[in-house]
Symmetry: C2
Subunit: 345 residues, 2 copies
């Protein structure tokens, strides 16, 4: 039976819909290692993320949706680096082998992988509590990667898309008291499902912003927390250079981009905390030097992507919130952080 | 508290003992992605493995030993490809945060990483049942990787080291009835501990065998099973070329290399099944064309590594066992295979 299970798994992952002819991939799944040949003038960008049942997604989540979310969340790290997706590995722990689950997961994975021509390079399937670890690999021109550490005083702060949607979705999708999906319209339910399970990795935006943005991060822990990572990595908070000044930010709360569907669902007093503190949106937060703003805006317009100037990098430390009347106060929100804090990347 | 846990984890993994200056590593942990610059003329080899508590290692395993095993098992995949270790990522799921556990794990990881100058590139730490996923990355001269698919009729079959030790250790280390560690000498206990937790990835051997061996694999599922992978990938069983002949092997059972400590512990009727069918030894099994045998033997002798000629690749299919009297019969062993079968690489 173990052998039959193995063959079943192989059947759902060794498929053409998951492997693509790509320059750079010398050898895909099936040997002790995969082999990559990185084109001259390029660096390989790589990032790994684990999603555990009951921690990063609700128990019993639909396999197709789950696969989508897992790969998209990882591709977002490539986007934040300005890298083009090349391939991914999949380490999958399964409590048991269900053919319908495997079929759904494989189809969800294929749909997303095909969209980015991101090829399965290899993997490992084991018995264990449901957990999905994906490592993505992408190409970025040498010296062009968007790091967290390039922001300076006076740079504008932008975000792509809209914020807070995934954080709004979470209590509904985990059936928390007072949040009944059944009370919503079909459109609202669809909006929340997509917000949580199908966040759009901003790959094209990241590629277009290389050479324009001074720093970038994807919003996984919440804007406040992730912008804080940029400020810390770019300023003296990084501890790497005592000549560097501490960096802070001022955010214009009226400029925080909210989806119309979000505004229709979030209570007024919840909107700003969700948009600033909620995680899992996977939009890009970038800093742009003044001389590149017009070009960056034009590039995002060409992608038909909302691109909101929400504030500026300032000398000092911490994040200030400025309201529509021009009055400022220190932000008292903290980013969403699941147990143990995630990334040590 | 979550934040405190996060900082605690960071403290044990963001350490100099885990990151090394290496040509090829442009950016290590701390950003959305790590960045690699692969030297001209080289390919990047990569492989991922997950180890789950209660499946791949006993519950309550010592953290130092466990870290050693996890990284060594992964490095073995690089060895089997003839690649030199460069760096690794670590995706760690922890049910809770214990400082003593983190300290032990970090020290075990550092000891092994330092030995191979294999640098931590990034990772992800999450709450969940104890699981460790490591992806290793190594360099191999373009076109020189040892694949599973190069064996031909008449090639000799060799294995490094000795076989069966880890399979012998397992029932002792999991406290199975009739296998009492307390009944053994300190030397015997040490032998079994090392066999299971500190298998030696044959990195130097893999590097030395590039250009000499026609195919290679590391013995993770058992010699019978892993040699079968070579025969299948190299022969018509791979389905990739209808002109290729099916390949089989003949194994001289008297030539199977056994450790003296193994022979002293294994019951006579168990020795051969353990050595041929038992997994987790992480020795290399390679095929060598006749014209390269002398050079391959000399290379292994220079490494002071036991290198046993155990048989030959033959036309046909399946594995035949030939005893000391020259009598042959089809092998009826099957390789150890944990649930779901492991690798789809």
């Amino acid at each position: 039976m173990a052998l039959a299970e193995f063959e079943l798994i192989r059947q759902y992952f060794n498929i053409d819909a998951l492997t693509f002819e790509r320059t750079g991939i010398v050898l895909g799944p099936g040997d002790d290692c995969a082999l990559l040949d990185i084109p001259k003038g390029y660096n390989l960008a790589l990032s790994v993320d684990t999603l555990n049942e009951g921690v990063h997604f609700p128990a019993g989540a639909d396999a197709y949706q789950l696969a989508q979310r897992c790969l998209r969340v990882n591709l977002s790290d490539l986007a934040a680096m300005g890298a083009e997706p090349l391939g991914f590995t999949l380490a999958l722990s399964l409590p048991d082998v269900s053919e319908s689950w495997l079929q759904g997961f494989s189809q969800g994975l294929s749909a997303c992988a095909g969209n980015y021509r991101c090829s399965l390079l290899g993997g490992d399937t084991t018995r264990g509590p449901l957990a999905i670890t994906i490592q993505v690999h992408g190409l970025v021109a040498a010296g062009q990667a968007l790091r967290r550490s390039g922001a300076s005083v006076g740079d504008a702060i932008y975000v792509t898309g809209t914020l807070g949607n995934a954080a709004l979705a979470l209590p509904y999708l985990t059936h928390q008291s007072g949040y009944e999906l059944a009370d919503l319209s079909a459109e609202q339910r669809g909006f929340l499902q997509v917000a949580f399970y199908q966040p759009e990795p901003r790959v094209d935006a990241g590629l277009a912003l290389t050479g324009l943005a001074s720093a970038a991060i994807d919003v996984s822990d919440g804007l406040a927390s992730d912008l804080g990572h940029i400020l810390q990595a770019s300023g003296s908070g990084s501890g790497s250079d005592s000549d560097m000044a501490a960096l802070g930010a001022i955010i214009d709360t009226a400029q925080i981009p909210l989806a119309a569907e979000f505004a229709g669902l979030a209570a007024a007093h919840d909107a700003l905390p969700l948009a600033l503190g909620g995680g899992d949106d996977y939009e890009l937060c970038v800093t742009v030097p003044p001389q590149h703003e017009a070009q960056a805006q034009a590039a995002m317009k060409a992608l038909n992507l909302r691109f909101s100037r929400i504030g500026e990098v300032i000398a000092g430390s911490g994040i200030m919130l400025r309201d529509a009347n021009g009055e400022s106060q220190p932000m008292r929100l903290s980013g969403y952080r699941h147990f143990g804090g995630g990334d040590n990347e």
